[in-house]
Symmetry: C3
Subunit: 184 residues, 3 copies
């Protein structure tokens, strides 16, 4: 079976993680890449709830920022990567102070490096992300920058994905299969 | 004709109510369950506009909170229930003070009780709700709780629905018919 | 070849403009109608980026408010109109002070006049707009009015359009082709 890149998009509480986990069940050796940080009690509870839903034999890598560095050496051990989610990764990088060597805010370039990692390996990836651009555009400058960055990153993965699934109220819709547009 | 559960999802001004009303025209004895409260002039005007669009022979039940209690005794008189909408019902319950007997904020459990009412009866239900999770996630804690609760309630009804229709700019898209995903 | 009305809907950074431009490539004489105003540096940069992506031989009409007046005399010279976007046009009109002769906030009526201009001419129109109603409904009254007005305008164009395309992460989905609903 050849590898496959799947992007699972959707809003808050749309069943993205559950659907992504159901897809990952097809894998033998599954690595969950969790990008969330348990900064407060609410987030800690969300992380714990997500973890409880996953099979016990799956491995988990927690990395909020440097996905490429953390993931590259581990990749050969797995046939399936479940990356949950791009949303928090973009948020974490956007809010990080730029360090000497590298600007953590250079997010699109890092998204392309991450995609190259997928392309060079043998594992299937299931990547979860939020769509956040369909509400009233926030007056807040950081929120606008966030929606822009995340939208760009989602496009990077969607353009390369075999399947792009949008979740509505728990119902998965594979829009790549529906898109018959000749301009793409 | 057997009964049918339809969930009509969509954003603000997407034509949800108009579409739901068009679907309800197939019924002989139609009960509209309105969950809105005319708390201010803007809302009163919206309620009035919605009512003017409906056929005069439809009955209307106005109930902002206790849908199960209010609906159960009336159900045998109707073959079609148009519930418009879950959005305000969740909002009304979330903002209600917990009383002695029952916590009005226990919304998911009440959604399941409501669904059981549908399952036990003979009427078709057309249920309207907003999708609110596709914008930038609000910093406000109550707004986040609201998006979470409504998302959960939408999933409860979507999982049981024969048709899940998402409205975009007045165009209905039946996503259950599109969803060919084997994991569901 | 007969003319065609296409509405390209989507969120922030979903690839709407790029997709609309790809569709407009089929035209011989293309007029871009840009509704944005370079009010600040961020907007000026967005306008410049959009312009750099377009073929040099396309003409551009910049008009933030009076689309009908500005467009009518120019229409006979073009076979393709790319209107990008309704979002900012609605926002510009909503924020304009009412003048003596005409209330710039009477937006739905103006949308219908604009649509009549399309119907009377020979050119194909590709119309770009945002969907902004799928986030948590803003507490701010102006933001709610904006979501309402834009939703109404989108419905005016969607009801008349040959194709309604919703963009998700750069993937176009033609929902008119998917909508098999008999009530529409």
């Amino acid at each position: 079976m050849s590898k496959r890149l799947t992007l699972v998009l959707g809003g808050v509480r749309a069943g993205k993680s559950r659907h992504a986990q159901a897809l990952a069940q097809a894998g033998q050796r599954v690595l969950v890449v969790a990008t969330s940080e348990a900064g407060d009690a609410e987030m800690a509870a969300r992380i714990q709830a997500h973890r409880a839903e996953r099979p016990a034999h799956w491995d988990t890598l927690e990395e909020p920022l440097d996905l490429v560095t953390a993931l590259a050496p581990r990749l050969p051990n797995y046939d399936t990567v479940l990356l949950d989610c791009l949303t928090l990764w973009v948020s974490n990088r956007l809010l990080s102070p730029p360090d000497a060597g590298q600007d953590p805010r250079d997010i699109s370039a890092e998204a392309h490096r991450l995609l190259r990692l997928y392309e060079q390996g043998d594992a299937s990836w299931i990547v979860v992300s939020n769509e956040v651009g369909l509400g009233v555009i926030p007056a807040n400058e950081l929120a606008r920058a966030y929606a822009d960055e995340l939208g760009r990153v989602n496009q990077v993965f969607a353009a390369a994905a075999d399947d792009v699934t949008v979740m509505f109220a728990g119902v998965p819709v594979n829009i790549n299969a529906l898109s018959s547009d000749g301009t793409r």
